[in-house]
Subunit: 210 residues, 3 copies
Amino acid sequence: MFGFGGIMPKEGGFFELFNESGVLMASAMHEFHRMLEYPKEMASRSESIKELEHKADEVTHKCMTLMHRTFITPLDREDIHLLIKSMDDIIDFIDASAQRLHLYDVTVIPPDLLKLAGLTVNSVELVKQAVHMLPNLKNSPEILKICVEINRLENQCDQVLRAAVAELFRNEQDLRLMIKLKEIYELLETVSDRCEDVANVIESIVLEYN
Amino acid sequence: MFGFGGIMPKEGGFFELFNESGVLMASAMHEFHRMLEYPKEMASRSESIKELEHKADEVTHKCMTLMHRTFITPLDREDIHLLIKSMDDIIDFIDASAQRLHLYDVTVIPPDLLKLAGLTVNSVELVKQAVHMLPNLKNSPEILKICVEINRLENQCDQVLRAAVAELFRNEQDLRLMIKLKEIYELLETVSDRCEDVANVIESIVLEYN
Amino acid sequence: MFGFGGIMPKEGGFFELFNESGVLMASAMHEFHRMLEYPKEMASRSESIKELEHKADEVTHKCMTLMHRTFITPLDREDIHLLIKSMDDIIDFIDASAQRLHLYDVTVIPPDLLKLAGLTVNSVELVKQAVHMLPNLKNSPEILKICVEINRLENQCDQVLRAAVAELFRNEQDLRLMIKLKEIYELLETVSDRCEDVANVIESIVLEYN
């Protein structure tokens, strides 16, 4: 279904929409990371993450409407659906982590949480890059490398989560705080899980169109 | 794929099955709401919700079998699958909320839970209505309005959930009860999330067939 | 799409891959059961489950790649996707249960957990059998019986879970341990939920191709 020169046609603007979604999720993730570094700005930053999440919702919505109105799509409908849906999940979980952090009034940020957020920033950035490179088939080898790296980061995030939760159960005396932090760790780790889902979809798209 | 006069053909009885599923979920949700108003009837009401959930399972099952045996379906197979699956999720989460409430022996119902249940009754009723109106294309503008309203209700439910959980962490002295109620709130809020999923599927169906 | 004699063609090796996935999940589930019987071997057994889960990931990956590269598949693409994805979910939840048990350092195994694991071993074994029998249409009646049995086991697992969690809330004095065990019970019960998902996919495949 490719046009001349191995460039995927920009019909219907699907790739622009994927790109927009990628930019929004990366902004949200950076905001979240800064929220952890400057807990005093929690209220305003959690609000801007919520706004970014709403914008991403609109992009997803536009993409679905476009898909239903486009006769010939540049990718399989199922791939478009899977891709935009799993990208939407990423920003949803960033938002959920941010809202919970703010709502639960967690102001002392444990080092493990900052570490997990740092790794997750990398994952989300790589998803943004891969999606950006997707329309050009020449990028395939590099996209596949990025997908491998996203998988590696997910394993690392999982290890950080496990160590952090084990530590919480062992040493956190305040049971309420333990429950709050456990939930936030798990929500944040789900962001990297969803990045892996996107990487898998992208990988299968690249393999299919080569 | 529409017949004369913009009426979707009732081939295969798909719309009847969607309708049955909608009626079952609305009954289950009303039962749940009454369960909160009359905690003494918890045992019998949780049992009738379980029965309604089993009936909905059968409807879903019939719908899937029908889809596999029907050569030309009135809607895309993927849309049928998504619609019946997300409707089935709604009643599953109503049932999960009810069983948990009964199992955990929560007999003092916090006002926030009743408030959340009231909003959720509205969401589920709107899903039932939208599904009922689906076979007739003339209803499209009204169906789309209902979908917007379901989305609005989901946002409201989310706010009630957040406030309620923050309140629990702050003031509930009994940690066991806090854990129980938090779980029930989250399960019940998932009902309105799933209503939003159904609204999204319905909206895309209406847009596609117009 | 069947070949002569009602045997599904082994094109592309899809059935071999389903089979491999079934064998891996059954091995992982047996390891988990032994982990509960011999808590001293928890470290080594949780490690071998992790390895089995990685192998299953590779099988899923191969299956998806194969699907994208095969022009005519022996089953609908959507069915292949659903089947391998829900089989992958089964081993993921077995692994999650195992890692949590090890991480949380739960060394005294409650009888209810062993009971739930025993039922789950049966479910997973039945999934393995059904998948193994899938390529031969003559097996259809027996496959459908197995699917009914998997559904029955899921209901039983659900009852054991509920009773076990109610018991935890009532009698477990150590709140940390209560939280840990509740999570492990819920993860393990999700294994039988996912087995039911696989049974539903298999059932609809069998109905479609008969």
